[in-house]
Symmetry: C2
Subunit: 397 residues, 2 copies
């Protein structure tokens, strides 16, 4: 009965007090004054705290973290290519156990209330599928405690590293769920080449795509057009995401209107970290135009960035501050981006606090969702499929 | 002997293990393997944790916070004048005990390791000096636990609210230490009028100035010139600060070079929160030009903003993220802004971890300052003048 749980006296989304009965890992009943669960089911008194659906980290790099190690000073140069080369060099030198490192970061994410992660994992001819296999093995260890989607990520490019396309295809057999891409123009210097390769793989295997697009301004905008065209042509609407898409943050009013319509029409989601130092996609504008916007940690304490703590309520706060969202409506939008927005981008069909949804939820202090985004209190209880996986900020797995 | 303390096994600024003997509130000795203190002096084993000087919050609005109240949805309009009017209306309606509210925020600041605060306090003909008096009374309560500078702040303008200038002058007798100002052009529509008034008061009383300048672009830049001219003319170099100064964030290379020189020559400090949603003063550029840059919370959970938790390590993190400071050098600059930068702007002559400095310090987890900025761990011990004022994240006062 590990996946049955009766949570009484909780306030779903800050509304009136209710009880939740999770049976066999799914929400069986939710509402005020439910009849008590059978005596063999664990009952937890939520003491009228706020109940939210499990947080979703829509963009991690589980395989890169230095978490738990002595401090590693950041040394990557400012350009993307320098960061890629530094990352590879540092990873080579440190020669860490990827599986151990991944486990630390997954535990941290669980302790912060994430019940789902989408992680990109580096694939290239030098390391082959070794890191993907290590992350997939770590994922296995946490089965039932957190759901993890893996993106086969050609960090060093597809066209500039011959053999990568074949590895991406192979990665789907080794545990990858989604095909990645990176700056088809800026990194590969062959936008059409990379996109044809990765869209071809995605269509053949019926999987989604999640493409890193750092290329700025008109160069980025041009590639959004190329991606949209191929999304339509390959019938992948609803299965394609563009991560970062900084170029959407520097468009004029007419350009962003057109881009938003193009993305919405083709069911392309946009992932942002709400980065404070660079232009970022305009979350409210895209959301209003029907584009699914989602968020994630990106790197956590790795060769790319010293920052990050895997807390998706903090991410929602950072997104809110990036756009000066101060009203409850704005704070709820930031929360949406870190929860339902992610769930839709990741294709999670059973996400939420409704009957029939997976029993994935977080209990915490706070009057309502807006306050939770502002205060980011410790997670009192994290429940995954009806199983308590973290308590008072500590993962139990 | 409440102001004597022997802290052994600590790592000042992340360096080698040392001991610190605070006698009569000041650092008497600091170094490796000090002789034990007299037996009547409390000794605390720092267990090799990181020791940093007390954090400084260079810009608060202690009198406005809703901390500890049921959630207050944000409703202020986007313009500064709308925010001013909403703030006044909300404060009037809620009719809170300013002294009680201030106490909550001061305790929070102490728990986060702040040993000094500069707070602006609203002064206007409607409320007179009542809020200043309440904040000054609260300050009295916390004597010895935290140092607080009060800025008589003409939130509603000086020229547009006749009687305000006289109140500002009176405020110095009621406990204010510094004279404030606000958008001399944008709010008062009389830049010279407001500046002449507040510089005159400052010179007559030999006190400093801290002027809110939200006015953007060329309008803000123009007023920086007016402020610099008067700083020189009134002999107030080193005693004038400009808070926010968003206009410094939109200057071209030549303009910011000139402005930075002007600020440095006239000893004018710049306060930034590192706001993610707007242009902000370029911290590295100003610092390199010799301008003192400092940081602060600004509002904490008030009618102006739902955000804020008084944590100046988090502030340093936000400043670092705003400028993409990823190297240790960058993270140390962000830390400097929240510590020594503030101390210099506030004119604290006995600040730091050197012999003779005030015994104000914070003990926390972390290998070094860079890591502390990134992880913002709970403050294990906060010491003010040799007295332990917070432990494990909880204020003891």
């Amino acid at each position: 009965m590990q996946n049955d749980l009766f949570l009484k006296n909780v306030r779903p989304m800050g509304g009136p007090t209710a009880d939740v009965f999770i049976r066999d890992g799914r929400i069986d009943r939710i509402g005020p004054d439910l009849a008590p669960a059978p005596s063999e089911v664990e009952t937890i008194d939520g003491q009228n705290q706020l109940l939210i659906p499990g947080l979703v980290d829509g963009h991690m790099h589980l395989d890169k973290t230095f978490l738990g190690l002595p401090w590693v000073p950041h040394e990557a140069g400012p350009a993307i290519l320098e960061k890629i080369e530094t990352d590879k060099r540092v990873q080579r030198t440190m020669n860490l156990s990827v599986e151990d490192q991944v486990g630390k970061l997954i535990r941290l994410a669980i302790s912060k209330g994430s019940t789902h992660i989408r992680s990109h994992v580096d694939i290239d001819p030098e390391i082959g599928l070794s890191r993907l296999e290590a992350v997939a093995a770590a994922r296995e260890t946490f089965t039932g405690a957190i759901s993890i989607q893996l993106v086969a990520f050609p960090q060093s490019g597809v066209m500039r590293c011959p053999g990568t396309a074949a590895l991406l295809e192979e990665a789907l057999r080794a545990g990858a769920d989604v095909i990645g891409g990176i700056d088809p123009a800026g990194i590969d210097q062959d936008a059409v080449g990379q996109l044809e390769a990765i869209f071809g793989i995605a269509e053949r295997h019926g999987v989604g795509l999640d493409i890193h697009l750092h290329d700025p301004g008109e160069l980025g905008a041009h590639q959004i057009g190329l991606i949209a065209e191929r999304t339509r042509r390959h019938g992948l609407a609803g299965k394609v995401a563009i991560s970062h898409a900084y170029c959407l943050g520097t468009m004029d009013d007419v350009q962003i209107g057109r881009a938003a319509n193009l993305l919405a029409e083709n069911g392309i989601s946009i992932m942002t970290t709400g980065a404070a130092h660079s232009p970022v996609p305009p979350v409210q504008r895209l959301h209003d135009a029907g584009v699914q916007v989602f968020s994630g940690s990106d790197g956590v304490r790795d060769a790319w960035t010293p920052f990050g703590n895997a807390d998706q309520l903090e991410r929602a706060m950072l997104v809110a501050q990036r756009f000066n969202f101060r009203t409850d409506e704005g704070l709820r939008l930031a929360f949406h981006v870190a929860t339902h927005g992610c769930a839709q981008a990741l294709g999670l069909s059973d996400y939420g606090l409704d009957v029939g949804c997976a029993g994935d939820m977080v209990l915490l202090d706070g009057e309502n969702v807006a306050e939770a985004v502002v205060t980011r209190p410790p997670r009192r209880l994290v429940v995954k499929g009806g199983r308590v996986v973290a308590r008072d900020g500590t993962a139990l797995v």
